[in-house]
């Protein structure tokens, strides 16, 4: 890699982006920080409470539950979508009419507004009018996502797999397409097995795009709001109340600004920390492959 030219004037090119994002990000974030240290009795009168809200939060069972549910959800999502996405990408055609058909139909769920995704699955899963719910009920399964936590979880996870696995597939596919044919021919001459082709050729080539996929899927599943809100509204009980749903309930539903702000900050910092870890790993691998690669 050739070293980039040092040029401080480049800041002027970045400035417009910097200003717009700072306007949208810094001012609201400072508002949140501001609220998180204060309490109010309404009428816009605020007084300082220090770190009380953060202390409350650390001992709040509601927060712990929502946080654990969120971690569990993101964990399950990554465990299903990443391997499944790779598996499908490996089986996709490399040329011919199948390529556009696959790409277009797979990208379709990604372009549907999130609340419509929720509506689609709400309709699809209902026992009285939905294909899935009706079929399961007539097969004798006791399936009702508005009543049972397990059914609600399964519905939301299947929905998310439906919605987002394509992102992993498309990323992995892009990685696979960048492997020159010569690699496969060399492997064939060496008599490499299917498994070692995957392990030593395909997986390393997909590494970078897979990390992007994992990063994006982690961030977005950790922030999920609209789809579970439409399907279950956080219920039954609190069983599908993820962090964002809980936060919106608290901030806009109950108008508990202080606790909601404290929770926002902790929530944001957790995402930031985990994403920073992913990002660092990602750029390190990127540098290694561009230094040591062919």
């Amino acid at each position: 890699m050739i070293a980039k030219q040092t040029n401080q004037k480049a800041w002027f090119m970045v400035l417009p982006v910097f200003l717009v994002v700072a306007f949208s990000a810094v001012i609201p974030l400072m508002t949140v920080v501001n609220y998180s240290f204060q309490d109010t009795f309404g009428n816009n009168q605020f007084f300082w409470v220090g770190i009380d809200w953060f202390k409350d939060l650390m001992h709040s069972e509601r927060f712990h539950d929502a946080f654990l549910r969120q971690l569990l959800f993101s964990g399950i999502i990554l465990m299903i979508e990443v391997p499944l996405g790779i598996f499908i990408a490996l089986a996709m055609p490399k040329k011919g009419w199948g390529v556009p058909v696959c790409l277009i139909s797979m990208a379709l769920p990604l372009l549907i507004p999130w609340n419509v995704v929720g509506t689609i699955w709400q309709i699809f899963g209902r026992v009285d009018i939905g294909l899935l719910g009706h079929s399961l009920a007539s097969l004798g399964f006791d399936y009702n996502y508005t009543q049972e936590p397990i059914a609600a979880w399964i519905t939301i996870i299947v929905m998310d797999v439906w919605h987002w696995t394509s992102l992993v597939v498309l990323l992995a596919y892009a990685g696979l397409c960048s492997i020159p044919d010569a690699y496969y021919q060399a492997a064939k001459i060496d008599g490499a097995s299917r498994l070692s082709v995957f392990r030593y050729i395909q997986l390393p080539k997909m590494q970078r795009v897979l990390l992007i996929a994992i990063l994006l899927r982690f961030m977005d599943s950790f922030m999920i709001y609209t789809e579970p809100f439409v399907i279950t509204g956080g219920g039954p009980g609190n069983s599908t109340t993820f962090m964002s749903i809980d936060l919106v309930k608290m901030a806009i539903g109950q108008f508990d600004l202080g606790p909601a702000a404290a929770m926002s900050l902790v929530y944001f910092l957790v995402i930031l920390l985990l994403s920073w870890v992913f990002y660092t790993v990602m750029s390190n691998i990127g540098e290694e492959s561009s230094n040591g690669g062919a």
Partner: protein, 265 residues
């Protein structure tokens, strides 16, 4: 590996089945939806679509969504172009930190920003305007646009820039005449992504609008809670929100895989 094609085929069926069910429901009337369970409409009707196209409280939602999505795509791409160029070609004080800071905004949960955004845009008198939603969506779209464009631009050899400067091109002329045509597909893909994330977002768009700029997605949730669930119309509205996406995918189909890798393959 003769049966390999079955795997994507099954997956695509799994993807299309719920969408088919939505289309199916949108072509039935409510009595049929609730009384008869059938895999295709028994009495085909387009009444649900007629409701949407004749009632201004429905179709204005599509117009509002289209307006703020277009503004957002325009802002994101034009602002991100020079910034991405700077990141891909030069090193400057704080560049890595700035890049990561931009990305953190892509990671920020919209739920965190919903209430402060409401207060911010109310206080500057932009509440319930298209431009407010468009700027709010820049929070995650601008960083993404910079990220994707930077990936595409880094794939263009630096020699192109240098040759142009030696030939006496000014920076602006070089950028418009030579560089932009070179990354046209990258710009298309970026616009696609900005469209996508602005089009699908609900929480911020709903929080920042009341009447004049209310997006279609917010109108749909309101109808679910208010009018005793008109399933047919709801399904029809859903189908109509999918169509713009199909159209946009068709335009970028050749670059979509590379685009999803954010230009970094």
């Amino acid at each position: 590996m003769r049966w390999k094609w079955l795997i994507p085929a099954i997956y695509i069926v799994f993807l299309l089945l719920p969408i088919y069910w939505l289309v199916n429901m949108s072509l039935k009337n409510n009595d049929e939806i609730l009384s008869i369970f059938s895999l295709w409409p028994q009495n085909l009707t387009f009444d649900n679509y007629r409701v949407i196209f004749t009632d201004s409280s429905w179709y204005s939602g599509y117009i509002n969504s289209m307006i703020y999505v277009s503004i957002n795509v325009l802002i994101s791409v034009t602002f991100a172009l020079p910034a991405a160029y700077a990141f891909s070609r030069y090193s400057f004080v704080g560049d890595k930190h700035l890049f990561f800071w931009l990305l953190t905004n892509r990671m920020a949960p919209p739920a965190v920003f919903a209430l402060p955004f409401f207060q911010l845009y109310s206080s500057i008198g932009l509440f319930d305007t298209h431009i407010a939603v468009a700027i709010a969506h820049c929070l995650f779209n601008l960083p993404l646009a910079v990220w994707i464009l930077e990936g595409f631009m880094s794939g263009i050899p630096k020699e192109i820039d240098e040759t142009a400067f030696v030939d006496g091109y000014s920076w602006i002329r070089f950028f418009i005449k030579i560089f932009i045509p070179n990354i046209a597909s990258g710009i298309g893909v970026t616009a696609f992504f900005c469209f996508m994330f602005s089009w699908v977002e609900l929480l911020l768009a709903r929080t920042l609008t009341a009447v004049n700029a209310k997006p279609i997605s917010a109108i749909m949730t309101r109808t679910v809670s208010a009018s005793g669930l008109d399933w047919g119309v709801l399904a029809a509205a859903g189908v109509l929100t999918i169509l713009p996406g199909v159209l946009v995918i068709w335009f970028v189909r050749n670059h979509i895989a590379k685009g999803f890798a954010l230009g970094r393959v």
